[in-house]
């Protein structure tokens, strides 16, 4: 139980042990603990961030779908409108075409009628002239009375 040099020896070895612990034992272990703590915190933060991102993406997807639906409806509307327009247009075209055809036909008919009438008139005139010629063969000169006959033929 004597106090002696052992005291100094213990003091020195204590100091060395503390130094060694601090440098080679405590610091690496504590460093690993801190690193792990940080890694876990980072991981949790990343997970939370990911979740947030996912929610945002979902929201965005919903919006895109809604937009697409709207656009599709619009396109369908436009197509329907265009179709009815086309139908209207072609109906109009057909109608005007038919009118045109009718008008042309009528004109042709009229022309035919005129031509027939002309021919008829000419034949009648010839007939009348030849009749008159037969009747008047003896007393009337053809050349002298031709214009009178033609005037007659024109009045038919």
């Amino acid at each position: 139980m004597n106090i002696n040099l052992t005291l100094i020896g213990q003091l020195l070895s204590f100091a060395v042990f503390v130094w060694f612990t601090m440098k080679f034992v405590w610091t690496p272990i504590m460093g690993a603990l801190d690193t792990r703590r940080k890694e876990i915190a980072d991981g949790l933060a990343a997970a939370e961030h990911g979740q947030h991102e996912q929610e945002l993406a979902k929201e965005r997807a919903k919006e895109v779908i809604r937009e697409a639906k709207g656009q599709a409806a619009e396109i369908v509307n436009q197509a329907q409108k265009r179709a009815s327009e086309i139908v209207d247009e072609s109906t109009g075209n057909a109608r005007s075409e038919s009118e045109r055809i009718i008008v042309a036909a009528q004109a042709e008919i009229e022309q035919e009628v005129n031509r027939a009438r002309e021919q008829l008139r000419r034949q009648v005139a010839e007939l009348a002239v030849s009749g008159a010629e037969k009747i008047l063969r003896k007393e009337i000169d053809i050349a002298a009375h031709k214009d009178i006959v033609e005037k007659l033929a024109q009045q038919i």
Binding site: T6, L7, I8, F14, F17, T21, V25, I29
Partner: protein, 286 residues
């Protein structure tokens, strides 16, 4: 038992004597062969057993500590690393709980103190006669295996802590601040003359409380371990007193050893906590 020819008091005395190396009365250097011889060697002698066991235990701790620290990973910890991390976190929690400043030395210091004292105290659980008998077989007369029952060991650590306390007190508060802490409280006055009169009184009070810290720190550990060791020795004497008392002694030793597990851990923890608290006081202004 160390020898049947010994009386009980001789047996106890034998167990409480350190293996001392120093200068004999006739001027030669060597191992003391009796307690008286060891005493005569004075200050310039060394307790070989205390030094050997404490350094061996400390080195053991540092060896395993270094081995674990070298393989330490921030990933998934396994086996020994789990154990080391548990210890480190326990110490870290204790330091965070009691120490408010920032000093990278305090936590490793606390760890060293806790483990080293615990290991030293743990030697108490080795039956008192085993190692001395083995040492006796190879010709070593005295062998005190529990370093913390040697006041040199406990005072060595306590003085180490005390030096750190003084160092940080002066470093943080300056020489003036530290002297002021010693002389200007607890009694203080607005009157300069009365204040001057209070200085010696304050100094005596504060100086005693300052010195009391390392002394109580060292003596608490020493006293507890010394008493525990003494009880183990007394129980061991019963083994010589017949079968009935011997069996009773065995039961007592088992009981005391189990109880002692609590004491050795508690004493290591108290030493560590008080160290942290003293260093915290050194870092804080009153």
């Amino acid at each position: 038992m160390a020898g049947d020819t010994l009386t009980s008091s001789e047996y106890i005395r034998h167990h409480l004597t350190n293996l001392t190396y120093g200068q004999h009365a006739d001027g030669t250097w060597g191992i003391a062969h009796s307690a008286e011889e060891a005493k005569e060697m004075g200050f310039w002698a060394i307790h070989v057993d205390t030094m050997f066991w404490s350094i061996l235990l400390g080195a053991l701790f540092l060896y395993f500590g270094k081995k674990i620290a070298d393989r330490v990973t921030a990933g998934i910890p396994t086996g020994t690393q789990n154990f080391a991390e548990m210890l480190v976190e326990f110490i870290d929690d204790s330091v965070r709980g009691s120490f408010s400043g920032r000093n990278p030395l305090v936590a490793p210091l606390a760890l060293t103190i806790f483990i080293w004292i615990f290991l030293q105290n743990l030697m108490d659980l080795v039956p008192v006669d085993v190692i001395p008998a083995l040492a006796g077989a190879v010709g070593i007369h005295f062998m005190k295996v529990v370093p913390s029952t040697d006041p040199n060991a406990t005072f060595g650590m306590a003085i180490g802590v005390f030096i750190l306390t003084l160092y940080y007190s002066i470093k943080i508060k300056g020489v003036g601040g530290f002297m002021g802490e010693l002389t200007l409280q607890p009694f203080s006055s607005d009157n300069a003359i009365i204040k001057l009169l209070f200085i010696p009184i304050n100094f005596v009070l504060e100086f005693v409380s300052l010195i009391a810290k390392p002394i109580s720190l060292a003596l608490r550990l020493f006293g507890n371990m010394y008493a525990g060791e003494m009880i183990f020795i007394l129980i061991a004497i019963m083994y010589n007193a017949g079968v009935v008392l011997g069996l009773f002694g065995g039961v007592l030793q088992l009981g005391w050893a189990i109880f002692h597990i609590l004491i050795i851990t508690l004493q290591a923890f108290i030493f560590m906590t008080l160290t942290i608290v003293y260093l915290d006081m050194a870092h804080n202004e009153h």
